[in-house]
């Protein structure tokens, strides 16, 4: 039995993998009984209890982090230094090369400054992307939604939207690009608007709307967009777009249980008083607002 082939026999036997012939041979071994006893008894061994629920709770209470490399140094000073150096490097690189994103969720506005101190106010439910690298020579940003810009003097400042482009030198203007409607208002200076093949130059107080290819020129009297002062001004806007805006401003969901009206609305609606806002729409469109939850409104026919 003390040969090397026993090697396999014992472990095979423990795993119940012996053939009948091999098993018969092994049973003839004088030590078989002892092995059999060891096998039987070790099948009834126990380890101390393991409280897995408690440990799991503790584990998932930790925050997930972004992937890191394998720890190479046991010395904590090395770790700290390495993290600082890498972190600083990444931050510098990211700041220069990576796309910066500014976002305003529904129900909130977001005011921020660009590297040249130009000011941007994002209206609710809007997003802006731009790159910090070489900003002064390349003032380009991409807008989804609506924003007001107060541009510092400098090289060409360009706002790109899905619907069209707005280029300026130094001025204050508002851009709104939602669905099929592209709305640009100039509050100071001069703004160049490109929509498909059309180019329009706006000066102070002028406004242009492109909706489904149609161009509407209007003018404004206010020195700033109304939405900065908790109001939204609509200019020949349809009900669907007005409700979309209210949903964004108040972060609510609105349903209309009648056929969409094609009447266009021109006027102002507050963004800090939902009940008043709903009442204005209700009166204009002869609807009955029903607040079925704090953030859910259904308009029904009166």
């Amino acid at each position: 039995m003390n040969t090397m082939e026993e090697n396999h026999i014992l472990s095979k036997w423990l795993n119940n993998d012996l053939t009948d012939a091999e098993l018969a041979d092994f049973k003839a071994d004088p030590d078989y009984e002892k092995y059999e006893k060891i096998k039987k008894y070790t099948a009834h061994l126990e380890v101390p209890d393991f409280n897995d629920t408690k440990i799991l709770e503790h584990v998932v209470s930790h925050k997930k982090t972004t992937p890191k490399g394998i720890v190479l140094y046991k010395n904590w000073l090395f770790k700290v230094a390495a993290i600082l150096v890498v972190g600083l490097g990444i931050t510098l690189i990211m700041q220069n090369f990576a796309t910066q994103t500014q976002y305003a969720p529904n129900g909130k506005k977001n005011t921020f400054s660009l590297p040249d101190n130009s000011e941007v106010v994002l209206n609710a439910g809007s997003e802006i992307e731009y790159k910090k690298r070489n900003w002064d020579n390349n003032r380009n940003l991409e807008l989804h939604g609506e924003a007001y810009f107060k541009v510092a003097k400098g090289k060409k400042f360009e706002v790109t939207t899905d619907l069209g482009k707005v280029a300026v030198l130094g001025t204050q203007f508002n851009v709104k690009a939602r669905k099929n409607r592209f709305d640009v208002t100039c509050f100071e200076g001069r703004v160049k608007v490109n929509y498909k093949n059309t180019e329009v130059i706006l000066t102070q107080g002028q406004s242009v709307i492109f909706e489904n290819g149609k161009q509407i020129n209007t003018s404004v009297n206010s020195p700033k967009p109304e939405w900065l002062e908790n109001q939204i001004a609509f200019n020949t806007e349809n009900l669907r777009n007005i409700l979309d805006e209210i949903q964004r401003q108040y972060d609510v969901s609105i349903e209309v249980k009648t056929k969409d009206s094609d009447k266009l609305f021109t006027g102002k609606i507050p963004t800090d008083n939902l009940d008043v806002a709903l009442q204005i729409i209700a009166t204009t469109y002869h609807l009955e607002p029903n607040k079925i939850a704090a953030n859910k409104i259904i308009f029904e026919k009166k």
Binding site: E6, S11, L14, N15, K34, Y41, E46, V47, L56, K63
Partner: protein, 173 residues
């Protein structure tokens, strides 16, 4: 539309399921190695915390070898080995329950304690592999995967463990 996360390991349900099926055997593995239950619990917890924190980088298929590697590495940092104290199941009395001869009962009792002693005295590699098979009921292939050795090596450890246990039981008086 639900966004797909970087790795399914970050999904709490997937993670919990993985934890439930592997945490205990990882803990037991560490216990067979070091003989200290609290320490084994701590190392297990640490390994799973690391997995959770790095879930985005470790897909669930790789999670098992990940936690074993982490547990093994952190265990390297000078832990005092203790004797692996095991017990028999409460209702296990012996292989032959019909024999009530007092002499036989005494012999059974002696054999049981000799066996525990012999397991304590096994060398670490043999003991770990042997107990993973006997207590956790793992296949040789699973043991090989978790210890990062070949199946042949597992078979060799099993064999040597059995021979060693038999010899020790013979020699303990």
């Amino acid at each position: 539309m639900p966004t797909r996360s970087l790795s399914n390991t970050c999904d709490e349900i997937m993670f919990s399921r993985f934890f439930k099926s592997h945490a205990k055997s990882l803990r037991n593995f560490l216990f067979y190695k070091y003989g200290n239950k609290d320490h084994a619990d701590d190392l297990t917890q640490e390994a799973f915390i690391k997995l959770w924190q790095n879930c985005a980088a470790v897909p669930i298929e790789k999670a098992k070898s990940y936690v074993y590697i982490i547990a093994n590495n952190s265990a390297l940092n000078g832990i005092a080995h203790q004797k692996v104290v095991l017990e028999y199941e409460k209702n296990f009395t012996g292989s032959d329950k019909t024999n009530e001869n007092p002499e036989f009962i005494l012999e059974e009792k002696q054999f049981k304690s000799k066996l525990l002693k012999a397991i304590e005295n096994l060398n670490e590699t043999q003991r770990v592999a042997f107990l993973m098979h006997r207590i956790d009921g793992k296949k040789y292939s699973e043991i090989a995967e978790e210890l990062n050795i070949s199946i042949k090596a597992v078979e060799k450890r099993m064999h040597l463990a059995l021979v060693e246990l038999r010899k020790q039981i013979d020699s303990i008086k």
